[in-house]
Symmetry: C2
Subunit: 242 residues, 2 copies
Amino acid sequence: MHFEFNERDGCKACPIRHRAVCARCDEDELIILEGMKSYKTIEQGEPIIWRGDELQHISSVVSGIASLSRTLEDGRTQVVGLLLPSDFIGSPGRETVDFDVTAVTDVTLCRFERKSFEKLVQDVPHIAQRVMEMALDELNAAREWMVLLGRKTAREKIATFIEMVIRRDNVPVHADEPHILPLTREEIANFLGLTLETVSRQLSSMKKDGILTFADRRKFTVLDLAALQEETGDDADGGMIV
Amino acid sequence: MHFEFNERDGCKACPIRHRAVCARCDEDELIILEGMKSYKTIEQGEPIIWRGDELQHISSVVSGIASLSRTLEDGRTQVVGLLLPSDFIGSPGRETVDFDVTAVTDVTLCRFERKSFEKLVQDVPHIAQRVMEMALDELNAAREWMVLLGRKTAREKIATFIEMVIRRDNVPVHADEPHILPLTREEIANFLGLTLETVSRQLSSMKKDGILTFADRRKFTVLDLAALQEETGDDADGGMIV
DNA sequence: CAGAAACTTTGACCCAGATCAATATCGATG
DNA sequence: CATCGATATTGATCTGGGTCAAAGTTTCTG
């Protein structure tokens, strides 16, 4: 059984093609991948899997946004990450999830039976390498977020969050289309370690300061990107040495 | 050139043997590993590498403790992780580090020329798998820490930190030897997203409440483990479903 | 072993952001 | 299109932890 990796023309039907995690789509390979995958849709607001639940599948987000979060006994909730299309739910080698996973929007998942996925990781070297790279990227993002949670002010947190949102759906150049906040005020608060009132106040304040405008609760446009970036608390150049 | 993986008797001289990241120590393998590694010692308090610096080596901590941190322009610092023996500095596929790495104690590193290490990751499937597992573990730990930073009170943060320290050097059973705080008050503060005064006050308060005693600034004993764990804010059973 | 530098504790006060509360707006539903 | 529940805004007040300041320890150095 031979597997090879090919980034360029990964199999069209294979969801681990996202982020180019895919073995060469010759017949052998396709059979295995086809045999073990299944799709599932979860409605907005519904839980996908709870912390501690046994992982039957490793899934990849095909469309929509899911959140990873932890809630303390008294209800305090911290969102520790957002899962966007191509992100995985569950990791090879783990039998349970350590965080609650919830559909923030309607979410479509492509699921692999966990054992098969783990076998794939073992048999196809480039898949382990890809998962490794993805994990390292996310680790970096998580650490970056730790700086925000531990040291940034409410205003800096909001500015950083908005900047992240507009960076994410990076419209070509100078498309003035409004951006969409993917989260409610409360979800933003739980992501930033704030209360929803503080989130609301900071957004209002940025509106007053002419940095943003809102067409409605979710739809906004950045009027002054430079000012926004100034407020994030990060180095202007994203940390490169000049 | 064939490589195989053997957890049990990984090569004694190979530092990536830590955490069992090691190929079978036949001659081919040894030559490669021996040829590319070098040791280096960094004194307590000295920087190991700065954020943005080009990574010449991937290193593994052999002894001592290093911290990963980020400092904002105005001096606010957040420690995003501690590197203990067997942890890596630098990741295959990255040309720079994204955080400052500092020696918290005297640190000995085992360094690999980066290109060679990356080649090794590509050539020896089990090494990529091992790095993948390590990255996934650290990702989990980072997310756990995000909950602490975003939602826990000062007292809960301190309790969690102390619990982490005693869990780390998990003395057999009932050894009443004192534990050692590996960090100064200021370093603890930067790790927990607090000020050093708050750290000091909380430690005093726990002393007053009979949870801890201090033999000196660094040396402490836990008098009431149950109470300590009660204060961490986490579920009693570490999150397992009962 | 004196004197200094580094680290820690403790106190007094203050403020960013939490909490509590009232109102306003949106969007779904019959 | 009126009603209701969910979501958001805004105001008033409170407080945990930050800030500023002054001792008190420990450790290093000559």
